[in-house]
Symmetry: C2
Subunit: 217 residues, 2 copies
Amino acid sequence: MREEFQADLNEVSRLLVTMAEAVRAALRKATTALLTADLKSAETVIERDVEVDAIYAQVEAKVADTIARQAPVASDLRMVITALHISADLERMGDLAEHVAKTAQRRHPSPAVPSELRPVFKKMAAAADHMAEKITTVLANPSAELAAELERDDDRMDELERDLFKILLDDDWPYGAETAIDGALLGRFYERYADHAVNVGEQMIYLVTGEPVTSQN
Amino acid sequence: MREEFQADLNEVSRLLVTMAEAVRAALRKATTALLTADLKSAETVIERDVEVDAIYAQVEAKVADTIARQAPVASDLRMVITALHISADLERMGDLAEHVAKTAQRRHPSPAVPSELRPVFKKMAAAADHMAEKITTVLANPSAELAAELERDDDRMDELERDLFKILLDDDWPYGAETAIDGALLGRFYERYADHAVNVGEQMIYLVTGEPVTSQN
């Protein structure tokens, strides 16, 4: 029974790692689509979101099956419920990558992001990618310490979002309201992606330590 | 055992109804804050979000306790896991109401919304309130039919968001990029609030019919 439960958990864990890798790849490709007005990349991200949703459904089914067959209690039960929360955050990260791709698609063949905004979006994308990489690592090898770093990584993302808004709200902003709105919404997609990565980190800390972390996201 | 399980479910259900009422009240008050530049209302919404988070934690604890004590399987298990998803959506609706309130607070004593945008925001707020009322009803008295209406209600919200963007993107928009960005983000908060209400409806349909509904949100 114990071994079976462990095997179930391992499978859930593998699914979560696959999902984290998929949403990391999705945002990387969506960023390429955004910064190079690359329609093909945008379409690929949009098409592949169903794959993320499919893994989400698999996690859900596997967790329900595990609870039904193994009737876990205490920390075992905490683990499987935590997996549900994590998969919900990952699923949402996939949606946000898709939103970035859809913005690139909508503006194609024009670039959605004018040249003044490219440096800050490159930095936001790099910060998000770094966080997605970290959660993939933490999901494969649970570490409360590494998970806790995500909160600090997110401070950096918030700082970048403020930098973005400074440019958008500058009196000399030459691109009009539409491009400003696109920039603000895109900024929010990256920032929310990072928030969900922080949530995953908090869930992993809870899993490892048993201490709940209060989320502000 | 069966009666105990039913009593557990009833308690979870009561908590969800309380939570739905709280996030409905939160958005109503946040809208007042937004449309009348009422600082006190904005502050109340922001302060009270912790109460929503507290009920969320109670649902989570009650569900874990129910699974551990009752070891539910099949449709019983589906019910308790569904409750977790619903509470996560309601928690996020509370956050979005808080975001509206924070925008009003940040702009106070100026109104965050210029007069041209007030009619569309009134309509968006009314649509959101109608949907929040509906999920409160459905949570108290599960009905797949009533829950299915939320998808159509959401079409109306999407239409209103398009109306909002038409105004923001008009060549004659006189308020500059900052107010346009605020308007776009506020529109998104209402639209996302409605999306989460649709998710709750889908979860309730799943609960009643056993048929999963694929979410696009």
